[in-house]
């Protein structure tokens, strides 16, 4: 078990290293840099040279990569070229905001999805199932920025219940962010729910038709007990991987959602950083996102182990 976890961790580390090299290589291969992006038409002569010198861009790419990597090992993500501030400071608050958004969406979305999925499975092909499954296909196929725009139109512009976009700064206390967080959170939860719900529904249908459930029924186990104690844990097994993937998707989806809502999170910062050609910042954020992705998958594996005794005793 511990050996397995260690193996996973080593693999995770390798993945992250590859991500770093890839991101660095790709951004380095593109024409232009932070100075040409920033100076625009002034990017000529001494002004350009000074700008590059100040930011150590005149050093060879490999050397810059080495310096940056060395910093990362000591927990220092480097300095933003455009913003001229330590990346750790830039990222900290925004990471918190994004985490609040993502966790909020997950906390609403996952239990709702499981509940609705079970309900749809138990009422298979009847009205509740039709409504739930139909709705989830709808939520899944509409791109999240369309959902977001619809929600803004209804709840911010027509009803004026929530602000349409966030206007508070990234370092504002969470309490100030709460009114701003609701619409993006609902948007994320809707899309996320759809995926998980469909998985839970189909695997629940399978499990309910399986022999051990049949056996439990014959033994006279109460219905709710069969559903929640016997069937659901088994039905959750395939769903856990989907949940992990969905949480990882959340990190990508969050980029678009944050942009639509002007939400001061890691996603908007990422987009701005790419736009500004702020290489160290892009790299740092890519690294963080990749780390969360890998971590989610690792946790999913561990959760499967916990839920499924067969996996634990296999070796």
């Amino acid at each position: 078990m511990i050996k397995l976890i260690l193996q996973r961790l080593a693999l995770a580390f390798l993945t992250l290293a590859t991500v770093c090299v890839l991101v660095f290589g790709v951004t380095e291969a593109l024409p232009g840099d932070v100075c040409t992006a920033f100076l625009g038409r002034d990017a000529q002569g001494t002004r350009l040279e000074n700008c590059r010198q100040q930011r150590n861009l005149d050093q060879p790419a490999l050397q810059r990569f080495a310096t940056w990597s060395a910093g990362v090992f000591q927990g220092d993500l480097g300095t933003s070229l455009k913003r001229d501030k330590p990346i750790n400071d830039l990222v900290a608050n925004r990471m918190r905001n994004t985490a609040a958004l993502g966790l909020g969406a997950a906390l609403i979305g996952i239990p709702m999805a499981i509940l609705l999925g079970v309900l749809a499975a138990l009422r298979r092909d009847r009205t509740p199932d039709m409504v739930i499954s139909g709705g989830s296909i709808f939520a899944m196929t509409i791109p999240e920025f369309v959902t977001a725009t619809l929600l803004i139109y209804i709840f911010a512009i027509q009803l004026q219940w929530f602000p349409a976009i966030t206007t508070v700064r990234h370092s504002a206390p969470l309490s100030e962010l709460i009114p701003n967080i609701i619409l993006p959170m609902v948007t994320l939860a809707l899309v996320m729910m759809a995926h998980i719900l469909r998985m839970v529904r189909s695997s629940m249908i399978d499990v309910m038709a399986s022999d051990f459930v049949q056996m439990a029924r014959l033994k006279g186990v109460p219905y709710w007990r069969i559903v929640f104690i016997h069937a659901l844990p088994s039905a959750m097994l395939p769903a856990i991987n989907i949940i992990a993937l969905t949480i990882a998707w959340l990190l990508g989806g969050v980029v678009i959602i944050e942009q639509v809502f002007n939400y001061p999170g890691i996603g908007t910062l990422m987009i701005r950083a790419i736009y500004d050609r702020d290489l160290p910042l892009v790299q740092a954020i890519a690294l963080i996102l990749a780390a969360v992705y890998v971590l989610c998958n690792l946790l999913a594996d561990l959760a499967s182990l916990a839920l499924n005794p067969r996996l634990r005793s296999a070796r």
Partner: protein, 491 residues
């Protein structure tokens, strides 16, 4: 518990939608990623805040003409090389100190300081020395005659700051304008409060809230949801959301901004003036404007950069003339047509559309236009002023400034590589001519020269669509630099 949290959230959302009455809210695009500076001459200048915090010596009136701000009167010597400015009495900076001649001297000399290397230095390049005559009078000596020095001093970045405040002005924002800095937060909300001692009287709004919203779509959402009162410029597609909507007012403002196709006059085949004229005669400008930017989206221009609101603009007839274009090409030796490749990226949405329209319009004249798509990254450093034909964009500048910055032989941004000694000396002559009518005629000649020989195809100047909530008052339909922020309010 959940319902409680939700109702708290809803309640606070409702509260956050309603700000203190008398605050005017507008958005900015956080173009400098939070490094927005209150130093008026920094390359990272915080545009809106600096418009409101600082005064100028001379400012635009509603028609764009120089009118008194801190300077009440000015006059030039016969040779237009020595100028004296009389200053308004009793003006105070936000910190309570008096604004006097020494501050003007400091401000102007700081702009020219080579150590600061400000982009504004080029605008005031003609200023040689600034002398304090007394507390309320300065004398400016120029290195060459310039009849329109007040126009240069009207530049939106030439803002007066207190003597010796250069090192910390970027954070303090101490000026003498209608609003004073309360909180600087470019990525969140920057708050400026009314300056009760402003020389024109206390401003109409109690405070200005400048909110950082990078995405233009998000700004439109904020406007629709009532989170901001005003948006400077919306896209033509977004305009429909606001016209015929009783909650909003729109203004269509002519500006000096343009998109253009430029041909290097030092590179074959564009080194032949006849070819260049033919290339420019083949365009139907009205049609192009309609197709690229929308009906009534601008003012047609005949390849000179002087915009419709400028007193020196001259009107030329530049209707499409395929027959003449063909004749000129034939004379230049291109009887069987000519191939032209234009490089462009998608930095500006208009560029590719413009080239596509041009492709169709120029075909009958035997001009075969090809598009060379290049990456938008590094466009200004690797493509512009390098490839023989490229797309370009310029923002509004006064006639003298733009003619000098874009078409003088020695200009750093002479993107057409236009080298014409007569043109250069005519530029010098125009700016030293003290008689307005004569000066206007000289500038008209310069514009005609560009129409005859220039390498830039400037089809039209763009209008900007400004949107505000219907309760906004005091915001006249004038160009951005002429807005009197002290009169603006949302009741």
């Amino acid at each position: 518990m959940k319902t409680l949290a939700l109702s708290v959230a809803v309640a606070s959302a409702l509260l956050s939608g309603v700000t203190a009455a008398g605050n005017f809210r507008l958005a900015h695009d956080v173009g400098y990623a939070g490094a927005e500076s209150l130093d008026p001459i920094s390359p990272n200048r915080f545009f809106y805040a600096n418009q409101m915090l600082y005064s100028r010596l001379v400012r635009q009136d509603q028609n764009g003409q120089p009118s008194p701000d801190i300077a009440t009167r000015w006059s030039a010597s016969k040779d237009a090389k020595t100028w004296t400015f009389e200053l308004r009495q009793g003006v105070k900076f936000h910190d309570g100190s008096d604004l006097n001649a020494a501050d003007i001297k400091y401000t102007l000399e700081r702009i020219k300081d080579p150590k600061i290397d400000s982009p504004v230095a080029a605008v005031l390049g003609v200023i040689d020395t600034v002398k304090v005559i007394n507390d309320h009078k300065v004398e400016i000596k120029l290195s060459a005659p310039h009849a329109d020095l007040p126009l240069l001093l009207m530049d939106y970045r030439v803002r007066i700051i207190p003597e010796n405040s250069g090192d910390n002005i970027a954070k303090t924002g101490i000026g003498s304008g209608p609003f004073m800095l309360d909180e600087l937060d470019p990525e969140g909300t920057t708050v400026l409060k009314a300056n009760p001692n402003y020389w024109e009287g206390a401003p109409a709004a109690d405070a200005m809230e400048i909110i950082g919203i990078p995405d233009s779509q998000a700004r439109v959402q904020a406007l629709m949801a009532g989170q901001i009162d005003f948006e400077d410029s919306v896209l033509s597609q977004q305009k429909r959301l606001f016209t015929n909507n009783p909650l909003f007012k729109t203004q269509s403002i002519a500006t000096g901004e343009w998109r253009a196709l430029v041909f290097r006059t030092d590179t074959a085949p564009f080194d032949n003036a006849k070819v260049r004229k033919a290339l420019r005669l083949a365009v139907d400008r009205n049609e192009m404007m309609k197709l690229v930017s929308g009906e009534g989206a601008g003012t047609v221009t005949c390849d000179h950069p002087v915009w419709s609101g400028d007193q020196y603009r001259t009107e030329i007839n530049c209707d499409q003339d395929i027959a003449t274009a063909k004749r000129l090409l034939k004379e230049a030796g291109y009887e069987n047509g000519i191939d032209v490749e234009i490089s462009a990226a998608d930095n500006e949405p208009e560029w590719l559309r413009m080239i596509e329209v041009y492709q169709q319009q120029a075909k009958p004249a035997g001009i075969n236009v090809k598009v060379n798509m290049v990456p938008s990254d590094g466009y200004w450093s690797d493509v512009w002023m390098k490839h023989p034909a490229v797309a370009t964009r310029w923002s509004q500048r006064p006639a003298d400034q733009v003619l000098n910055e874009a078409f003088r032989s020695t200009a750093a941004w002479n993107e057409t590589f236009f080298k014409n000694a007569d043109f250069d000396s005519a530029l010098d002559k125009a700016r030293s001519e003290l008689d307005f009518d004569k000066r206007k005629a000289l500038y008209a000649d310069l514009q005609n020269t560009l129409w005859e020989q220039g390498g830039a195809l400037i089809p039209y100047h763009l209008n900007q669509t400004r949107v505000m909530r219907s309760n906004v008052t005091g915001l006249d339909p004038v160009e951005n630099f002429s807005i009197r922020w002290n009169r603006v309010n949302a009741d």
